[in-house]
Amino acid sequence: MSAHHEEEALGRIYDSRLTGRLLGYLRPYRWRVYFALALTLLVTPLQAVAPYLFHVAIDSYIDPAFRHKIALAAAYRGIAWLSVVFIASLVLGFTLQYLQVWIMQTVGQAAMYDLRKQIFAHLQRLPMAFYDRTPVGRLVTRATTDVDALNDLFAAGVVAMINDFFLLIFFVAVMLKLDWRLALAALAVLPLMSAVTWVFRNSVREANRRIRTTIARINAFLQEHITGMAVVQLFNRERKTSDQFAGLNRGYNVAFKQAIFAFAVFYPTIELLSSAAYALVFWYGGLQVLLRGVELGLVVAFFQYAQRFFTPIQDLSDKFNILQAAMAASERIFKLLDEPAPVLAPAAPRRLQRVRGHIEFRNVWFAYRNAANPSEEDWVLRDVSFQIEPGRMVAVVGHTGAGKTTVIQLLLRFYEIQRGRILLDGGDVREMDPVELRRHFGVVLQDPFLFTGTIESNVRLGSETIGPAQVESALREVGVGPWIETLPQGIETRVTERGATFSVGQRQLISFARALAHRPEILILDEATSSVDTNTELLIREALERMFSGRTSIVIAHRLSTIQRADRILVMHKSRLREQGTHQELLAQGGIYSRLYQLQYRDQETPLVAPSPDLSAPLAASD
């Protein structure tokens, strides 16, 4: 039941429910689609022009002129006209085909654009719990690769299929109309040809399936062994690994041989059948010429019709593959789109006029797992109650897994609690619009996440109301003003993926500035555990001091200076709030806090005098 399975599964070739839903995406562009389809009606007959012209040339001009039934000049004139028509049909064919492909491809692109937009918007609404259980990579695949598989269907598959279908019908009609006996002769091989194509398709599909699975295995093996090459070498497995790989590789080779065999048989067989059709046309047609005086040009024309007729039949198996891939992709996409995105905002949300910043947890119980019906060991918070007065700073401490991060995630309403209430300024957060609610928080997460863009865009984060001046003052406030000034491009300095070009400390400070620039009433901070150099440490401390002043702050603390400054410390231990008080009170109490303090914080008492690598790092909590 793995993800593997989901990605590999191949859908049916046709599924009316999926198809209907897919066609819905073409709806806004339906007039263009109708136009493209209408072009089919023009493009197809043009394919029949050349054979017909030869027919006329031979029977109306060449033969009569040769037998001196019409004047040479008349024959030349006639042929000249036919050539002109031929050229005209080429020009027209070029134009119309170009137009048709262009229209359908752009429509396909537009529809895919809409679909991608819809997927992304849906992702923005899905609950956090969904992200906890779904790998990001898979979601990215839905919005990109899977949508592209659909594009093949819209852009190439559908039009070509309709064209081919129409072409077949048209040619059969034309041939039947010209001479039904000759038509039957030309089409006699058709059942056999369809049967061969069908057998071929099945054997190639089986071979293709084996090719896909074997190449996936080869690539997985390569990836795994390149990553674990040191283990291979440490355990003297170089030769065995090569042998093992050769085995997988052989499987791929054999699977491909199977496909090559199928193709090697298929192409000549089809050619043989086509030539049988031509031979039949010439033989039977020839007899008609000899016995019934049928025109020779007609036979030649039939030969050429038959030639064009067989190509689309051979292409059918490619089209099947496109259809199949598209159906599988659309099934996965729709499954994502059907993932329920609960509306968190109540119909008439409580309006937040001026937030004072009073926070209260009242007997809160919460579990991530089995949210509907948690069992005893699922609880991450058990009966947690506390209050934070406006303007106060509270530090949350505890061991890894004690529930510290959960407290702030719940406050931001990333998850719904099972029991109890969370109140802001006396109002239940469930009565507020979460988007509105979150605007009043300034949040700094433990991993200071930076987006690709500039320093400015990372501080501003798309907010229209924050101008460059505010960004700069926020940066100054956290003390990186002087550093920014040394950068040639200032706040426009580029930030690469995840801020890789900045140090950990710089990233932290930028995310501090981000929080400040949004002028929040409440500050939520998950202090980073990673150690930074002394200078940066001082900068961060000063920045924190400025950030805490005048606003309610709730901090998951890893710095001694932070807990010492806290108005109150909440000690989480094994899902419960076990102790609370000031630093001195709790130390005097000699409980959990005093031991946590010795483990995690005491070493920091004099670090700025003699900087040394973070001694507590191996033991430090890192949520």
Binding site: Y61, F120, H225, L461, P613
Partner: protein, 642 residues
């Protein structure tokens, strides 16, 4: 953010370099074993081409027969007339009998052609797959010999891309490249020769579009290839945008920035669609343009050819045959441009494969390995060893050793280490993260090269040991419990030639993982990883321990092997290992005092230097880093009981 997104793709891509044909020369040795079948395949192509030239002639004869020509295709002379002579035996104008024979002949010729067409595809494409197989094996055989530094320089994704995309480009040269080149040459030669027989002038006129078609295919082929690359880049940008948004979903939600995120995704989405539309413009022009150009050849046949028939220069049968030959030229015309692109790209890809195939392993046996005894005793000595990693590592490179973490290039990681570990003793190494513990262990296994004469095994410089013998004497339990997605049995028996029955179970029992394994439905045959049961961190670590123990190594290295195991379990494992430790040299790296307490010698590493050394009791008495670590351990245990 959009400006940034756009500029991601802007760094100038290297333009196509003049084809490095020399690179493709490297393929000749690979072709050598297939010399015979290759020649056979090319010969079948020749026969196929000859047979393929016949049907238009037969059709021409049929037409002339129907028109009552006394002699079919009168233009053919010399050799071709001779080739036609069997037909002339039964040819008679307007004879239904002869017509029937000709129809059968047509089918028979195509049947013969079919047999050779089958053979040529089967042989030539088959060879390309066989050579692909050889090449792929050689690539891996080279990769397994290369030292960790190579994998640090070359990110996994990059190597993967060479072993997949580039290999398939090279395969295209060997398969379709060779087959269609041969096909094109033979078919064109035959068709042109026969067309020239019918009418040299018309032939020349009809061939005018050939170079135009070839150039058009090449031109569009290159443009589309370039545009495709750009589209891929845009897709990468789009994926990166989505990836970033989804990874940073908590920040986005916390700042209520969903709307502006959607806008930013929208820009990337728009760019991607825009680039696609550009490609579509080229693509939708391509085939209609080809049809258009090729169509002119047919117009010429109609216009000129008809007049020639009327004037009696050629027979109608000859015109129809000529027309059929022009039809046969269409595919070769397109293939001409296409094949050159295949060769060009194949050459570039071959260069990238040669980068791997030509890489020289930097760690291997010395020119004249020392005459060492059969057995490694297990004495290890560091003499004033200072070690720095060779070059700055790429940002995305895999760890040189699973779990070794970030390694800054350049600055020494170990400084002035002098340490003698007697054979059979147990030495523990403790110290904060990044102090050089893992590097020290990796040097003993010669994953990285210690400077000359700084590291000795049994008194012999490590560089003078035959590499294979040295590593066979070592059982290594890396920090990152890396297992392969095979069965647990295969993983445990990974480093032994053959595991006698019971050996796997014995090793698992000593590593305290056998009871866990027996609880899996498939027991030792459980597959590890994605497709099987996911082992917990602790189970993985104990399995890697069993993997090291089954080798019965002289030197056992445990790099933080119990970090995912709780203290109680660790205690039990260590008790079981007491006997194991006694019989070999053991290096124990750990963060925990409980692990190292009983070692003969405990070494504290800090900033790459040895700061403290002594027994547990000595170090506790000294009150340094180790003593503090011990205090914390006691506190931890107390807290856990709360």
């Amino acid at each position: 953010m959009s400006a940034a997104a756009q500029s991601v793709s802007s760094p100038a891509r290297p333009r196509r370099k003049p084809a490095a044909w020399r690179e493709l020369g490297r393929l000749l040795p690979y072709l050598a074993p297939y010399k015979r079948p290759t020649v056979q395949g090319l010969l079948t192509l020749l026969v196929m081409g000859l047979a393929g030239a016949v049907p238009p002639l037969v059709m021409g004869v049929m037409i002339d027969l129907l028109r009552g020509e006394p002699l079919p295709l009168p233009n053919l002379r010399g050799f071709w007339r001779g080739a036609l002579s069997p037909v002339l035996h039964f040819y008679s104008p307007r004879s239904a009998h002869a017509l029937g024979i000709l129809a059968l002949l047509l089918v028979a010729v195509v049947a013969i052609k079919g047999v050779f067409s089958y053979a040529s595809r089967w042989i030539l494409i088959g060879i390309s797959r066989d050579i692909e197989y050889d090449l792929r094996n050689d690539l891996l055989a080279r990769l397994v010999q290369l030292e960790p530094a190579f994998f640090v320089r070359n990110p996994t994704g990059e190597l993967m891309s060479r072993c997949t995309n580039d290999l398939s480009q090279v395969r295209m040269v060997l398969g379709p490249g060779i087959m269609y080149s041969g096909n094109t040459i033979v078919n064109m030669a035959m068709a042109i020769a026969l067309m020239a027989q019918i009418s040299p002038r018309l032939t020349i006129e009809v061939l005018i579009p050939v170079p135009i078609v070839a150039l058009t295919v090449r031109y569009f082929g290159n443009i589309i290839h370039d545009l495709q690359t750009r589209v891929q880049e845009m897709l990468a940008t789009l994926s990166a945008r989505a990836q970033e948004n989804l990874t940073g979903v908590r920040v986005v939600r916390a700042y209520a920035e969903e709307a502006s995120e959607m806008q930013s995704f929208d820009e990337a989405n728009r760019d991607y669609v825009g680039q696609n539309v550009k490609m579509i413009r080229a693509w939708s022009m391509f085939f209609p343009a080809l049809q258009f150009i090729i169509g002119f050849s047919f117009v010429l046949v109609l216009w000129e050819g008809s007049r020639m028939v009327v004037q009696g220069h050629i027979s109608l049968g000859a015109l129809i045959a000529f027309y059929a030959y022009v039809g046969q030229l269409v595919f070769p015309m397109i293939a001409l441009g296409w094949v050159t692109n295949i060769f060009q790209r194949g050459a570039a890809s071959m260069a990238r494969l040669n980068y791997i195939l030509d890489a020289v392993p930097a760690i291997g046996d010395a020119e004249s390995p020392a005459a060492v005894g059969d057995r490694v005793r297990g004495e290890i000595e560091f003499r004033n060893l200072t070690f720095a990693y060779p070059t700055p590592r790429g940002p995305n490179g895999p760890s040189p050793l699973p779990g070794a973490g970030k390694l800054p290039g350049g600055a020494p990681v170990l400084r002035d280490i002098s340490l003698r570990i007697p054979a059979g003793s147990t030495v523990a190494i403790v110290g904060p993260t990044g102090s050089g513990k893992t590097t020290l262990a990796a040097l003993i296994a010669r994953l990285w090269e210690a400077p000359p004469d700084t590291l000795f095994i049994d008194g012999v410089s490590i560089r003078d040991w035959p590499l294979e013998k040295l590593r066979r004497a070592i059982g290594f339990v890396p920090q990152d419990a890396f297992l392969f997605s095979e069965t647990i049995r295969e993983n445990i028996a990974y480093g032994v030639e053959q595991a006698p029955s019971g050996a796997v179970d014995d090793a698992a029992r000593i590593a305290s993982v056998s009871s866990d394994i027996s609880e899996f439905p498939a027991g030792y045959d459980t597959i590890v990883g994605e497709r099987g049961i996911t082992l917990s961190g602790g189970q993985k670590q104990r399995t890697t321990l069993a993997r090291a123990l089954i080798r019965d190594p002289r030197i056992l290295i445990l790099d933080d092997a119990f970090s995912s195991v709780d203290t109680d379990t660790e205690e039990k494992i260590l008790q079981g290992l007491e006997d194991v430790f006694r019989r070999r040299t053991t290096i124990l790296i750990s963060h925990r005092c409980s692990t190292v307490r009983d070692a003969d010698l405990i070494v504290v590493l800090r900033d790459g230097r040895i700061q403290e050394r002594g027994s547990h009791a000595e170090l506790i008495g000294r009150g340094g880093y180790y003593a503090e670590l011990y205090q914390k351990q006691l506190l931890e245990e107390e807290l856990a009981r709360e």
